[in-house]
């Protein structure tokens, strides 16, 4: 399955979409499918300054707790409030309504250490076996 274009991916299965100085972050379809039914999401706070690749929250499914590593650094400007009452939105729409948080990136140039859709697809294909 092809990964959505226009996004960058981390090896920890997060995605980010960078528009101007704002970056939206979520977990990939592969990640939500591996985790299974998501029942709780712990997000960073608005105003918190995140360092790229740091552990900033958790995603919990029925069976597992998974750390959330931010693919981009910057100040959190918005979190997805819909997830508090409906964490399964991450399962249903990982690339859309199930986004997690937005940060204002300090440096609008492409963040380091992220993968293109094609490279991420290769990673997933390898990991799936």
């Amino acid at each position: 399955m092809a990964q959505p274009e226009g996004l960058l991916y981390s090896k920890e299965h997060e995605w980010t979409k960078i528009e101007g100085d704002l970056a939206t972050v979520g977990i990939t379809d592969y990640a939500q499918n591996s985790l299974g039914d998501i029942v709780y999401v712990e997000l960073p706070r608005v105003g918190q300054v995140l360092k790229q690749h740091a552990s900033v929250g958790v995603v919990e499914s029925v069976k597992a707790v998974s750390d959330l590593f931010t693919p981009v650094g910057g100040e959190v400007v918005e979190i997805n409030g819909a997830l508090e009452g409906d964490p399964a939105l991450v399962n249903r729409e990982p690339f859309a309504g199930g986004w997690l948080y937005r940060v204002r990136v300090a440096d609008a140039s492409a963040p380091e250490g992220l993968l293109s859709p094609a490279d991420y697809e290769a990673l997933v294909a390898e990991g799936a076996h």
């Binding site: 299974g36 039914d37 029942v39 709780y40 958790v58 029925v62 069976k63 707790v65």
Partner: protein, 366 residues
């Protein structure tokens, strides 16, 4: 993921693969933890029916006139008083009263069928053999015979057309020898989900065709394959213990909440003196149900506090669809912290979150 070649497969392995089941190592077997998803499968079992492969569980047979009396010397509950075709929950304990396994006995006309946890299969077989009697013949069918469960409110409707006896008339915790779709089976009205349902003991060779026929015919009534993930959620809601969590060699049947099954009136059994002393002292840490006050899920092993004092730990925990979508579970705590209503704190990633002790079970079918 690499699967070690040492993992065993049940007779239904190819069915799980064909259904897209997610296979994981469990008690030495490669077993489906889920197919469509744990919550969907949970809902199928609560509202319609689920089909489970439990062939990893150990099936032993005890033959001989003396089998029930012999089993009575090794277990806390009564075996010899079981009526023909009755099923009964029981536990094996060691001399210290610690639980070796929790099991089901089924009394058939010529033998006792004993079902042990897969994780304890080898230990229990060794334990039985070490205490064998010349009057009792032990047979080990672990991994060769199959066990298929149909669980849920539509279980009778789905299964009845396949069985040559009136299964609607079969009482809860009773069994029968019958033909299911022409296959010789022990059909038992038992389960581990809190729902009505049946467990079918059949030969491994005949299990795949039966599984496919049941699934095909049951689909119209909403029957879905269900994995071990849903089974764990269902049993926890129903207040049923899982060995390794609510019971262990360190946890007696009393501590694990199964004191109702301990019959100290029996003349003698392994562990009786220790259990009598424990009951008398009544000062042991014990299992209690709990619910988290907020939305953060607890997990096995998380520390539990009463005020500032650590009083125990979480043993089982799950999101519970049948308990209002709350996070529920069991704790092993000091006696004083085990009463219903007790306020507890559960430490989750360095923060203590509020919880309350609640009576078990979390779910009872109407």
């Amino acid at each position: 993921m690499q699967t070690p070649e040492t993992l065993r497969r049940t007779a239904l392995h190819a069915e799980h693969v064909a259904l897209g089941g997610r296979l994981v190592p469990f008690a030495g077997f490669e077993m489906p933890v889920q197919y469509a998803g744990i919550l969907k499968e949970h809902e199928a079992v609560r509202k319609r029916a689920g089909l489970f492969d439990l062939s990893h569980m150990a099936q032993f047979e005890l033959w001989g006139e003396e089998a029930a009396a012999w089993a009575d010397t090794l277990t806390v509950n009564a075996v010899a008083t079981m009526k023909p075709f009755q099923a009964r929950y029981n536990l094996f304990t060691n001399e210290a009263g610690g639980t070796l396994d929790d099991v089901l006995f089924y009394r058939l006309p010529d033998r006792l069928l004993l079902v042990c946890n897969a994780s304890n299969a080898d230990k229990m077989w060794d334990w039985l053999q070490a205490r064998s009697s010349p009057a009792v013949r032990l047979v080990n069918h672990h991994g060769s015979r199959a066990l298929i469960a149909v669980q849920g409110p539509r279980a009778v409707e789905i299964l009845a057309p396949f069985v040559d006896i009136d299964i609607a008339a079969l009482k809860y915790y009773f069994c029968a020898e019958a033909a299911v779709d022409g296959v010789a089976a022990v059909v038992a009205r038992t389960g581990y989900t809190g729902e009505d349902g049946f467990e079918l003991f059949v030969s491994g060779a005949e299990a795949p065709a039966l599984w496919r026929r049941l699934l095909e015919a049951g689909r119209a009534a909403g029957l879905e394959p269900a994995g071990l993930g849903a089974r764990d959620m269902l049993r926890l809601e129903a207040g049923m213990p899982l060995y390794g969590f609510e019971l262990s060699e360190q946890l007696s049947p009393l501590a694990g909440g199964q004191g109702w099954a301990v019959k100290l009136s029996k003349p003698e059994f392994v562990g009786k003196a220790a259990l009598a002393a424990q009951l008398e002292a009544d000062d042991y840490a014990r299992i209690a149900g709990f619910v988290m006050d907020g939305r953060v899920p607890a997990r096995t092993g998380y520390p539990v506090f009463s005020g500032d004092r650590r009083v125990g730990e979480v043993r089982s925990a799950s999101f519970s669809p049948s308990y209002g979508g709350r996070n529920i579970g069991t704790v092993l705590v000091e006696k004083a912290a085990a009463a219903a209503g007790t306020e507890l704190g559960v430490e989750i990633r360095g923060t203590v979150h509020g919880a309350h002790v609640v009576p078990l079970p979390f779910y009872k079918r109407s």
